[in-house]
């Protein structure tokens, strides 16, 4: 599933890949090593994995941040962004999945858009071009979510739950992810809609391998996400 490395590493010294990791010991080292052929700076946030993910990351060249307890993907992304923001020379921040779903080539094309200054935030979309890789039920549910989400409509997004994103420094600094669980994707879209950052969407291909299919988000979890979001800023 891995292709030859793309682009020169020296060109991407100002880029940080942020990878939230939760129980991905099987694949994480491969994903990191492959991405590192293109991106020298990677931070993996091990979100309290119990399968030795941290040990799998340790021999790689990625920076490792370990949550003492499991807190959810949103929390791990936020931690990774905080860490990357504190590194000298970090200008662009790429959120990347640990299970090998995302392609480095897509990240590079998104970076190009961010570097061109045409957008502050570049989001990946599975639906911008007709591609046959998304399972039909997932496609249907994700499209329904976008159609029902006022913020996603405002930004004219076609895919509100894609984990591949590129943020420039001001956007990464301004983004404060408060939803610890999976609701962070909707939270990010909501924040983008309320901000004045320019948002672009770029078609990407998600590699639905057997591994990622087995690990991936169950659609049932959508219920949990809706519940979390409906009560997000309420009360004490």
């Amino acid at each position: 599933m891995h292709d030859a490395p793309v682009g020169r590493r020296e060109d991407h010294k100002d880029v940080w890949l942020v990878i939230p990791v939760y129980n991905e010991a099987q694949v994480i080292a491969d994903v990191v090593e492959h991405a590192r052929q293109t991106f020298p700076n990677i931070v993996c946030v091990d979100d309290g994995s119990r399968d030795g993910s941290a040990a799998a990351i340790a021999p790689t060249g990625a920076h490792l941040v370990q949550h003492p307890i499991n807190m959810g993907q949103g929390a791990a992304l936020e931690t990774g962004l905080r860490y990357a923001l504190s590194r000298p020379g970090a200008e662009y921040f790429v959120t990347f999945d640990a299970d090998g779903q995302h392609r480095v080539e897509d990240a590079l094309r998104m970076l190009e858009v961010a570097r061109s200054g045409k957008a502050d935030v570049v989001l990946g979309s599975r639906f911008l071009e007709s591609r046959e890789t998304v399972p039909w039920l997932k496609r249907f549910v994700l499209k329904t979510v976008v159609a029902l989400s006022p913020t996603a409509r405002k930004l004219k997004l076609t895919d509100a739950h894609n984990g591949l994103r590129v943020l420039n420094r001001p956007a990464a600094e301004g983004l404060r992810i408060r939803m610890n669980g999976m609701a962070h994707a909707s939270e990010i879209v909501g924040k983008l809609a309320r901000s004045d950052w320019r948002v672009a969407e770029i078609p990407v291909t998600i590699l639905y391998t057997d591994y990622s299919r087995a690990k991936g988000q169950s659609l049932v979890n959508g219920v949990n996400i809706l519940f979390e979001l409906s009560l997000r800023h309420r009360g004490a």
Partner: protein
């Protein structure tokens, strides 16, 4: 029926309470007063059930026990939402704490793992170690 109006009012009130962004001392005090009032109401209902039945008749419920049950359900929903929100606030604080710990430890860990890392210099590392020791935590 009066009871339907009262129950709907309770639902609207709880929505209004929990949807408000900031929770100050007044709201906190209000919750506690409501709790005490509910205790008194329950005690009264036990001692003088006929009085409660009289009230129940006025508001359109058959028996006093039913009225107590309705009030209990409303109170229960209130408590559950309150508890949920407090748990989440606590979760938020734990997240901040755990993140701070994780970032601090990562600084040291990656310094040793990735010696070429252009991050903080040796002085910063010594300071960081001192801070860790001061907190009584092994690096």
């Amino acid at each position: 029926m009066v009871i339907q109006f009262l129950l709907l009012l309770a639902v609207a009130a709880s929505l209004f309470y929990f949807v408000r962004q900031q929770h100050g001392v007044r709201l906190q005090a209000g919750k506690r007063l409501a709790f005490v009032a509910f205790l008194f109401f329950a005690a009264y209902a036990v001692i003088r059930p006929d009085d409660v039945t009289w009230v129940a008749r006025r508001v359109g419920v058959g028996r006093g026990a039913d009225l107590v049950l309705y009030a209990t359900v409303v109170a229960f929903v209130f408590v559950v939402i309150n508890f949920y929100l407090r748990t989440r606030e606590m979760e938020r604080r734990i997240t901040e704490l755990a993140r701070a710990v994780a970032l601090r430890d990562a600084e040291i860990l990656n310094q040793h793992r990735l010696p070429t890392s252009p991050a903080a210099g040796p002085d910063a590392e010594a300071a960081m170690l001192a801070a860790v020791v001061a907190e009584g935590k092994r690096p």
